[in-house]
């Protein structure tokens, strides 16, 4: 189950209107969905939030992958439903399960349509991140850079992980046998090589990057930059409005579950 869920969060390199939105815009969309989802527990609101994201999924051409991730999230949804049956009413259980799906969809949509590169660029522009980066690591873009590198290494390390499992199984290691304690210990021959490989790859990468002038002096420029276009401003305005209205309604009215 677990690995298929990840497919619903992986960036797909397409150039749809949704993909081309600025990552900051898309992040605000997530907030604009999050706030009403968390602030209300009304079934109609949840359904509305879910349906409103559908056009984005379709325009972004990621609807099929999203459906996959939903299918994989069935287990967790069922769990939430059952737990809430015991702690609340039948209707609130439905509402909360729907809320989980709304949140899942929102994050899934964000990660599927935002390239980690652009995320890195966006992080670069956020003042707070630059400040933190300078304090911790000495350079304003070090944090966003670390993030990009981590993302870049994920598919490579995933392959490494599978190779380590294969290699150790070829030495007689059986990961599906034994009591709980034995099974946990059996992961040591998997985790240690993987950790060391990750470290080795990172060091080699660092060496290669330093050989190309990293980190350079203060004043590193960038070939690419993020630009907010009119459509971004429109959506940002809409998102802020939704967030504002949600809070206003929350403080003035009591919305029941149904």
């Amino acid at each position: 189950m677990s690995l298929r869920t990840l497919e619903g969060f992986k960036f797909s390199t397409l150039k749809t209107p949704v993909h081309l939105l600025d990552p900051r815009t898309k992040f605000l969309i997530v907030i604009a969905v999050l706030v009403p989802a968390l602030v209300f527990a009304n079934i109609y609101v949840m359904i509305a939030l879910l349906l409103s994201q559908l056009p984005l999924l379709l325009i972004g051409k990621v609807a099929r992958r999203w459906a996959l991730s939903l299918r994989a999230g069935v287990f967790l949804s069922a769990l939430i439903f059952v737990v809430n049956l015991f702690t609340g009413s039948y209707l609130s259980a439905i509402a909360l399960t729907l809320r989980f799906l709304v949140l899942l969809t929102s994050f899934s949509l964000f990660f599927m349509t935002t390239s980690p590169d652009d995320l890195g660029l966006a992080l670069d522009r956020i003042g707070a991140v630059r400040w933190l980066s300078r304090r911790w690591l000495g350079y304003p873009n070090a944090l966003s850079f670390t993030f990009t590198t981590a993302v870049r290494l994920v598919p490579t390390l995933a392959v490494d992980a599978q190779t380590v499992v294969d290699a150790q199984r070829s030495r007689g290691l059986e990961l599906d046998k034994g009591n709980l304690l034995k099974r946990v210990r059996n992961y040591i021959p998997i985790l240690i090589p993987l950790l060391l490989i990750a470290i080795r790859r990172s060091l080699e990468l660092a060496e290669a990057l330093e050989s190309r002038g990293f980190p350079g002096k203060e004043g590193r420029t960038s070939l690419f930059q993020l630009k907010l276009r009119p459509v971004d401003y429109a959506i940002i305005a809409l998102s802020l409005a939704i967030i504002g209205i949600s809070f206003w309604v929350y403080f003035h009215y009591k919305i029941p579950v149904l």
Binding site: D160, T163, V164, R169, S170, R171, G172, L173
Partner: protein, 280 residues
């Protein structure tokens, strides 16, 4: 004997990696599996110890169908040495590393101890028994990985790209070691793209291209054929290319080994000398 009967394999992503592969591997065999990147060499290797099960056809190891037996059980007979030793190494000492497989297969401590000692000696690693495997050089780590698989004395040894990054002397040692193994009756299968190493070691060559076996035979016949070599993204061994250029002097085209090349050239050169002596 390991038998592959009409083995085809398709990855879950839909990528077809192997098609209709028929192959027999017996004790005493020395086989080199060659082919371009993505030809299916590693996929084929993983079928030999059950890590991958065929989508169609079947793989029999000494009569056992790999779909019916666990990888652990198959690994007792089929030792697969992965290309990058860092994918295996995790123990505190080289001794512990080499003992790992033996312990997994349930041997007694006395047997484990003896086998570890023997294997370390055979590979020239005795002095490193108590060292940490991570502090050794690249070549030494490769030997430790090899020792770890050899310790359990598998009948079939599969080596994935064992010559990458090795200098000439290290490759010589490896060649001699392989010779020892297959003359002892073990089967050695080597996945490689090192044409010169193959030319000098003379294994039986199996050429894979796009998942199919496109040629099989002795190194000198397979590696001297231009179209085959090109398909597999290889180059002809130096001797073969040299003799290609010298074809007009009546020299055969299927030479890959330096020593055979020398004998053939000796003949022609002595003839030439005789001619010169006659004419003067």
């Amino acid at each position: 004997m390991i038998t592959l009967e009409k083995v085809s394999f398709t990855y879950r992503s839909g990528q077809r990696a192997l098609q209709d592969v028929d192959l027999n591997i017996e004790g005493g065999d020395f086989i080199a599996i060659m082919g371009e990147n993505g030809a299916g060499k590693t996929t084929l290797a993983k079928h030999l110890n059950g890590l991958l099960k065929p989508s169609q056809g079947r793989v029999l190891v000494d009569g056992d169908d790999t779909r019916k037996v666990s990888v652990a059980k198959l690994s007792r007979k089929v030792g697969l040495v992965f290309q990058n030793p860092d994918h295996l190494l995790f123990s505190e000492t080289v001794k512990d590393e080499v003992a790992f497989g033996l312990k997994n297969f349930g041997f007694t401590p006395e047997v484990v101890h003896k086998q570890v000692e023997r294997t370390l000696e055979a590979l020239g690693l005795s002095e490193y028994a108590e060292s940490s495997p991570f502090l050794l050089s690249g070549g030494e780590r490769k030997r430790v990985a090899l020792a770890a698989i050899l310790a359990t004395e598998p009948d079939y040894l599969i080596l994935d790209e064992p010559t990458i990054g090795q200098d000439y002397q290290q490759k010589e040692r490896l060649r001699n070691f392989i010779l020892q193994l297959y003359s002892q009756g073990k089967a050695v299968v080597m996945i490689t793209h090192d044409v010169e190493f193959v030319a000098e070691s003379n294994p039986k060559v199996i050429l894979l291209s796009q998942g199919r076996i496109v040629a099989r035979g002795p190194a000198d016949s397979v590696l001297s054929k231009d179209e085959l070599v090109k398909k597999a993204s290889l180059v002809r061994p130096q001797m073969s290319r040299l003799f290609g250029e010298l074809a007009k002097y009546g020299l055969p085209g299927d030479v890959v080994d330096v020593h055979r090349a020398r004998l053939l050239l000796e003949e022609k050169l002595l003839e030439a000398k005789a001619r010169v002596a006659q004419n003067s």
